[in-house]
């Protein structure tokens, strides 16, 4: 059962992800969203803002299969799976709305429970967060 904060802020920490796709084969599970879960647990609650190319993390789709050296590599990271873990654990996941059409996407393409915000709106709420960092 997920329990998402209705509003961003409220004393939580804010993690901003705007650099996307920092490695698949070499990274596998230990990507920014994996760390976001740990920060959520250790910092007492987290909101996650996706900006730039990272908004595509929250778009429905499938990770292409990867077969190298005659063996399937099933263990590369899938941001959609990681976002589902975050949402289920109560992380608020937000997407800056203008960055969707910038990548040819609309809010209708987003995963369930991911919400959009106008550009700058989360920035205006930074004071409501106990910490803000780029991830």
């Amino acid at each position: 059962m997920s329990s998402h904060a209705a509003e961003p802020g409220q004393g939580r920490a804010l993690a901003i992800v705007e650099r996307a796709y920092r490695g698949a084969v070499e990274t596998q599970f230990s990507d920014a969203l994996y760390c976001a879960y740990l920060f959520h647990i250790h910092l007492g609650g987290l909101d996650l803002l996706l900006r730039g190319p990272a908004v595509t993390y929250a778009v429905r789709g499938a990770t292409p299969a990867l077969r190298l050296g005659g063996q399937d590599l099933h263990t590369v990271n899938d941001p959609r799976v990681n976002l589902a873990v975050l949402l289920d654990s109560g992380v608020g996941v937000w997407v800056e709305e203008p960055d969707l059409p910038a990548h040819g996407l609309s809010p209708a393409a987003l995963l369930p429970d991911v919400r959009t915000v106008p550009a700058g709106e989360i920035t205006a709420r930074w004071s409501a967060y106990r910490s803000v960092f780029y991830l």
Partner: protein
Amino acid sequence: MTRILPHTDVLITLMGAPHESDLLTSALRLTQALLDRGASVQVWACGYATMLTQRALGDGKPRNLAAWSTEYPSTSLVVRRMLDAHPGRLHWFACRFCSDDRGAVDHIPQVPVRAPAKYAEHVAAAAKTFHLGVM
């Protein structure tokens, strides 16, 4: 000792660093696709790409706290699997300067280290050279 360089259809010069983008995954996909079509390939790993085949990486990545029993192959193992699956048609070299410059001096035995002054010989030994990424 004089090394007899393999003549290959393609030389991939891998300049881009891992954990920065999906370049490494793309490079491995490209390499595999070439091999699947019967081509021969040599990879020259430069810059931080020399970290990929370090013996200290072992066969697997550190444990995933969220999936303790899942095995995640190291890049070193992925490269070794590809080399083993395509004997005589895939070769992987590491630049000595870049390796020394990063302390990446202990490659798996399947990856010979080559002086940068020898790079031109590799270009000459390949019908086509691709440069992927920048240092």
